[in-house]
Amino acid sequence: MEAPQVSQTEAVGTERKQAAVIRFAGDSGDGMQLTGNQFTTTSALLGNDIATLPDFPAEIRAPAGTVPGVSGFQVQFSSQEIFTPGDEPDVLVAMNAAALKVNLPTLRKGRTVIVNTDGFDASNLAKAGYQNNPLEDGTLDGYRSIPVALTTNTLKALRDSPLQNRGKQRCKNFYALGIMYWLYSRPLDATEKWISKQFAKSPDIVDANLTAMRAGFSYAEVSELFQIQYEVPAAPQEHGLYRSITGNKALALGLYTASVKSGVPLFVASYPITPASDILAELARMKPQGVITMQAEDEIAAVCAAIGSAFGGSLGITMTSGPGLALKAEAIGLAVTTELPLVVINVQRGGPSTGLPTKTEQSDLLQALFGRNGESPIAVVAASSASGCFDAAFEAVRIATQYMTPVVVLSDGYLANGAEPWKVPDVNSIPTIPVKFRTDPEGFQPFLRNEETLARPWVRPGTPELEHRIGGLEHTDISGDVSYDPDNHQHMTMQRAEKIARIAKSIPLIEPFGDDKGDLLVVGWGGTYGALHEATVQAQSKKLKVSHIHLHHINPFAANLGKLLRRFKNVLVAELNLGQLDMLIRSRFAIETIKLNKIQGQPFTVSEVLATIEDTIQEIHQ
């Protein structure tokens, strides 16, 4: 093994850092997601605040060693509250040439890159499209490059393992993880426990992975690869119990919680689609709790089954991603006109068409609002963080049942897979969702509306003397009888619109982060919360008069949105699309706005948002 090109004389010192960002990058078969998740869990258990950004290809196993096959996992861990996985890594771990090629552009000069020298043979270089070996041609000049023969070292450490060579090589991600654990002074025990449980059926694999990780840790310690070891102390957090949670998990838990709190059984039908599939998988594990889940034959069947269950008196839920939402459109329209509760979760991804299945985007906003035939208003709520997905799912059920309407919950690929710490809520502090099924035949009419909410009664079939028919044909208000009367159609159209508008009375007013007037209001929605918030914090620390609001209710808007927008000299609408919220805001409030749009399948970085804020304010003052 070559001696690392770093100082070999000084004893290793320890430096305290407020936060660090690391990225593991390798082949899709290298276990980078698993490695990143382990590092995240360990850091969360240490009390760091965490935010993660998994970034993986749509192919399960793209050709090994190629650029399309590169899978990455970035995590920021901090002793302060953080809101994003970090703009750029402090340390990049590159398991092969392709991983280096893909990720080096995001690594600033002076930062550290740990390269697996075994992943740079002629074949690796050719697959990555390198003419020359970047480890030798000066590509890494200016970086702190730490070459480690990860594969060779792992094989050496496992020389006594009964595993085949191939099996041994697969342990190299744990060797890399061991190095990173040493570098950031993390304990191994949480991952040791996980390995022992995960591979319990194969003791040889448990031993090999444990050995590889410990070997990596020791190697970092004794080989003096690094001049310095870092510590990132625990972040001050509110008292309580915490767990790490992804957006998809939080959605599943939010739905189940809403079912318990409303006393209405949960029926979930879905068709697998990236990046929403895990939600159905999470809920399917809740069968002992009585959750009924069904993998439908297609997207349309899934939403129809959910609506059918709602007709039967269940919370009908379906989840999908953009292409699936398009397929569900007609059925959602039926739920609009029959005024049945329905929750449709849309985990957005890059579009149009199949687009970028594993990448994030916010380009389904207008589809959620308007992607149906006829005047078919529905409620739309948006989650702004992984843990916020819990609240969004709960809120959707509240609105759906209280107003007898479909609700679309917008999440996105970034929230779906990203993890963050979540303070587990006290079950008793979660409000109940009052749901009352109509059982009294006296004066019953299928479309007799609640005067306050305009909701029609929800009746479970099986209730004697309340037999009635509903359907997709226009019907008379109150009686529900089929009607082609022109005035009635206009009246019903207005009633359905007014019902959605009235939801605004039940949603909290927006409280801006920062002053409620100033030079610039940053407006966002959904998964961009962290970057917009952090950029605003930094701009405010530079004495800029900027505030931030993040919309959780897109339809209807919170009642004070218009008033707030008009209190700022400029409004910056930042979204991962070409300006869909912007279009809504401009048409609704007739104000001028500035747009910040990004369509790269990647979240905003704090620095690009901050730069836009600074430029905008500079222009105002010129």
Partner: protein, 351 residues
């Protein structure tokens, strides 16, 4: 003629209820064309429902789009008129979440076999305990006369002025291929027979598929004329009876025999050397669907049209399996409550 019985009515209510047809007649004016076969089917369904012993409030009629799909509006039960082709999917969500309900799907050859073919197939292959009545008039009526997936080759319609080149399919073949556990056929104007078939379908536990040959007197009049006409029908239909040889004809002189290569053949019982013992014995209950499938392919002019119950076998229903799984998963221990679920996974405490 009796179609026999091999099942029990679903246990959908406790109170014994006596109904007459008019208990199932809704207040809505029926708006099918005068002379439409759907009137006769509505009459048969309402009369059958009066005899099922199922409380009216436990019955839900679900439909898609098409002439047949207006059906729920005319039934004084719970009803859901949904969107084109998707009725089986709505019914699936309803029945799985509410196994106590008796769920009926009313569909047509366009709604069920064209736009909704996928859902029809999957409801049946799951053996969901729903009753599917498919009205087959071999035409699109509500859109005013275009060819359907069951229209014969050469059919001239507005959208096939030179004759349809689409090969038609056999609805009962589809049902059998999709693993339906109950498959039957009747004719709109066969009052008593149709009521019996509907009753049998209701008694069956699992997906019941009933093809009802129906006349559209506006756009495809006489589609099933040979079967409808009292004078000719006996020579054109084969009444299926469980454990009985396949005999037909106005004087019951013809039969169906299995020829070479598993090919059914029409034989004359009057001729020498052929007896009833040579004929195929109908059996609704064989687990192998080959016999039923053979029947589903028999069609004029070479064969009589089989009517009655093709197949009736017992399998666990979808909703029963779903709920059994939930009960099994619960086992003897109390499942984690909400608080335990929220606190699962890697948790840590900040004090």
């Amino acid at each position: 003629m009796s179609l026999g019985s091999n099942g029990n009515l679903p246990n959908t209510g406790e109170k014994a209820t006596t109904y007459t047809k008019k208990d199932f007649v809704s207040s809505q004016t029926v708006r099918w064309c005068p002379g439409c076969g759907d009137y006769a089917i509505l009459d048969a369904v309402q009369k059958s429902f009066a005899t099922l012993g199922i409380p009216r409030e436990k019955i839900v009629v679900v439909s898609g789009i098409g002439c047949s799909s207006r059906f729920p509006y005319y039934m004084d039960t719970y009803g859901f008129h949904t969107i084109h082709g998707r009725a089986p999917a709505f019914a699936t969500g309803l029945k799985v979440s509410r196994p106590d309900l008796s769920v009926w799907v009313i569909t047509g050859d366009g709604d069920g076999l064209s736009i909704g073919g996928n859902h029809l197939m999957h409801a049946m292959r799951r053996n969901l305990d729903i009753k599917i009545l498919l009205f087959n008039n071999r035409i699109y009526g509500l859109t005013k006369g275009q060819y359907s997936p069951t229209s014969e080759i050469g059919k001239k319609t507005k959208t096939s002025p030179l004759g349809s080149v689409d090969r038609p399919l056999y609805p009962t073949s589809i049902a059998l291929a999709a693993e339906a556990t109950f498959v039957a056929r009747s004719v709109d104007v066969y009052g008593a027979h149709l009521r019996d078939v509907i009753h049998r379908a209701a008694q069956h536990r699992g997906s019941s598929f009933v093809e009802i040959l129906q006349n559209c007197n506006i756009f495809n009049d006489g589609a099933w004329a040979d079967l409808a006409d009292r004078k000719t029908r006996d020579n054109h239909k084969l009444d299926l009876e469980h454990r009985k040889p396949m005999i037909f004809g106005e004087n019951r002189t013809k039969g169906i025999k299995l020829g070479e290569g598993l090919q059914p053949t029409v034989v004359d019982l009057a001729s020498n050397g052929v007896s009833e013992d040579d004929l195929i014995l109908h059996d609704e209950n064989t687990s192998n669907p080959a016999l039923a499938y053979m029947l589903s392919r028999m069609s004029p002019p070479d064969f009589p049209t089989p009517l009655g119950v093709f197949r009736a076998i017992e399998e666990e229903t979808y909703e029963a399996a779903v709920h059994r799984q939930i009960e099994d998963a619960r086992g003897n221990s109390t499942p984690a409550d909400l608080e335990a679920l929220l606190k699962s996974g890697d948790i840590w405490e900040v004090s």
